[in-house]
């Protein structure tokens, strides 16, 4: 059994209320932090824990915190990124729905560590029910003296507000989010300056994902040493995985980083195998933006090692044969799924969500969608695959924010690993309109290259 740090009490009836949450050890980290630790102690502890951002990029949280500028007389902000819009990802919704006080507790400790007196939780606008849940929880916490003026008599003041988005994936990008929080279109900013120096209202700002903030609670409660005991290598602690697609038991799982992918998919503790007795064809392991891998490459690396659910193991092989842990949005495709259709669907998503600021992304995402659409509907050309790779390369790295990369990678990787399925759509469009390519060789054992 994986140890649970975030979801340990998720099944306790009433855990969404302050009283039950508190009875189960909730808000201990606030007492410990405010009464016995200095802000710098907390930053050090988080640094030591090895916690990496859970929003997708995996940047070390303690390091990000230590970059926060602290000019005299200028307010600093903590903004929680609860925009959760990356296809395949639904863990933050789960956490906010069922255990909202964990996020609020983490926000208080993190705000104290950063010297912040006003913090915001930016929640995607579609999550109105979660916004209400959080607002209610904030009132409860405030009534109990954990928010507001002079928290627990320590002299520390903190106000916390929930901000709704308006429906735009780009507002998950941290500077797009800050623009949106300032009441503007969510167009990402040119960096530098980074938010740590000039963020919300041009003040020093830290933006962290919901799960990252929540993970600060067990780190402060039990110490970085305990946290680091869980996980593998530089992937410390636990991770929430949103498991969806053709699985027997889709849902949110808290795993110890380092669980083998095969165990995660097939064991009864987690996803319980592929639905309807079918076979696995492909996996997108970290949200729609990361490279898709065929079944054989997601289960094993090209060196024949069993692939693990960790930042390093999923990335093993780089973009040639690996992928990324990303936000932990794990999407399983069964043997009857069409990779061309899914790639078109994702391309449509990125085209729809491109903010339009940078021409490579604005034009390139639309171009890729169009070409993939004609491939899917039987009008493709054999040269289209090279064209798509070419367009994706011209987007990648040439935009203000990484949405361009996020749009390019799924297309480039689908063609890299499933080229014959694309070619089949061109060579035999009639069949491709009637049936799917099937599993083909995508789950065949890998031929292991012998090094030397």
């Amino acid at each position: 059994m994986s140890r649970k740090l975030l979801l340990e009490h998720i099944n306790v009836p009433g855990i969404n209320t302050f009283d039950v949450y508190r009875q189960n050890g909730g808000y201990r980290s606030v007492e410990k932090a405010l009464k016995t630790l200095s802000p710098d102690d907390i930053v050090e502890e988080v640094k030591k824990s090895g916690l990496r951002g859970r929003g997708g990029a995996g940047f070390p949280t303690g390091m990000k915190w230590s970059f926060l500028a602290k000019p005299e007389g200028v307010p600093r902000y903590l903004v929680c990124n609860a925009d959760e819009s990356e296809p395949g990802t639904f863990k933050d919704r789960y956490l906010m729905t069922y255990i909202p006080h964990l996020l609020i507790e983490g926000m208080i400790v993190s705000s104290f560590a950063l010297g912040v007196n006003t913090c915001y939780i930016y929640v995607r606008g579609e999550m109105m029910p979660q916004i209400c849940i959080l607002e209610k929880a904030i009132v409860e916490a405030k009534n109990a003296g954990f928010l507001g003026k002079n928290i627990l008599g320590t002299g520390y003041d903190l106000e916390m507000y929930v901000q709704p988005g308006g429906g735009a994936y780009i507002c998950g990008e941290e500077t797009g989010l800050l623009e949106s929080l300032e009441g503007k279109r969510g167009t990402p900013r040119i960096k530098p300056p980074f938010p740590a120096v000039s963020g919300l209202y041009n003040c020093p700002t830290v933006v962290n994902n919901v799960e990252t903030i929540a993970a600060v609670v067990p780190i402060i409660n039990d110490g970085a040493d305990e946290y680091m005991k869980i996980g593998i290598g530089r992937s410390t602690g636990t991770k929430l995985i949103s498991a969806g697609g053709n699985l027997n038991k889709p849902g949110v799982y808290e795993i110890e980083l380092g669980v083998p992918v095969e165990e995660f998919i097939y064991s009864d503790e987690y996803c319980g195998g592929i639905a309807n007795g079918k076979r696995l064809k492909a996996v997108v392991a970290g949200g729609s933006s990361v490279p898709i891998l065929p079944a054989n490459l997601i289960l094993k690396t090209v060196n024949g090692e069993s692939r693990l659910m960790s930042y390093e193991s999923l990335a093993d092989g780089g973009f040639v044969s690996g992928t990324m842990l990303g936000s932990g949005g794990f999407i399983a495709f069964d043997e009857d799924q069409c990779i061309v259709r899914n790639t078109w669907n994702f391309a449509r998503f990125y085209h729809h969500e491109s903010c339009g600021q940078c021409s490579p992304c604005r034009e390139g995402t639309g171009w890729m969608e169009k070409v993939l659409h004609r491939l899917e509907y039987g009008h493709g050309k054999l040269s289209d695959m090279d064209l798509l790779v070419d367009v994706s390369k011209k987007i990648e790295g040439n935009t203000i924010c990484p949405l361009g990369d996020a749009a390019a990678w799924p297309v480039a990787s689908a063609i890299r690993h499933f080229r014959d399925e694309f070619e089949w759509h061109v060579n035999d469009p009639k069949s491709a309109m009637e049936r799917n390519y099937g599993l083909a060789h995508y789950a065949d054992p890998l031929e292991i290259e012998v090094k030397g």
Binding site: P75, E84, S85, E86, P87, G88, T89, F90, D92, R93, T118, R124, G125, E126, M127, M128, P129, E159, Y161, Q163, P164, G165, G166, G167, A168, Y169, S180, L181, E182, G183, K184, R185, G186, Y201, S242, A243, G244, G245, N246, P250, G251, V252, V284, S288, G329, I331, F333, D334, Q337, R341, N342, N345, F346, F349, H352, E353, C355
Partner: protein, 171 residues
Amino acid sequence: MLSITETEVVSFSQELISRCNEVVARYPEGKQKSALLPILHFVQAEFGWVSAPAMDRVAEFLDIAPIEVYEVATFYTMFFLQPRGKYVLEVCRTGPCCLVGAEKIMRYIEQKLEVKEGEVTADGMFSWRGVECLAACGMAPVLQIGPEYTFYENLDERRVDELISNLKSKQ
């Protein structure tokens, strides 16, 4: 599209104004523009959509130029710039939902309501549209209905039937 020919003036109720004031108080002085998205949500919940005169009223309230409201309302997908059905069924159309039948659900809704995506039924009750990932892939296929954004999960044809007949009888 934005309709700019309307001349009707929209007035906000005292209750709406006091809720707007509450939101403005969350931000530092002079940063009241941050309240724009929350207020547009209030306006849509109250009037069913966001009209140009309503946006002008928001601009006046926040002491910003009307264009600053228009550019925001047109950027975000949640704001309806034209009247819609009383209930808008928003079905997630992104990859993970499609792996488990979202496209079939959309075709079924289209057939059942007898309107195309984005149109309104003759009785003014329903619209539907596909939307991008709603972050509920584990409960797919899903749809949401504003202004509360209630979620309907693990959809099949029977659930869609139930949902539509419940909404009809709620009237």
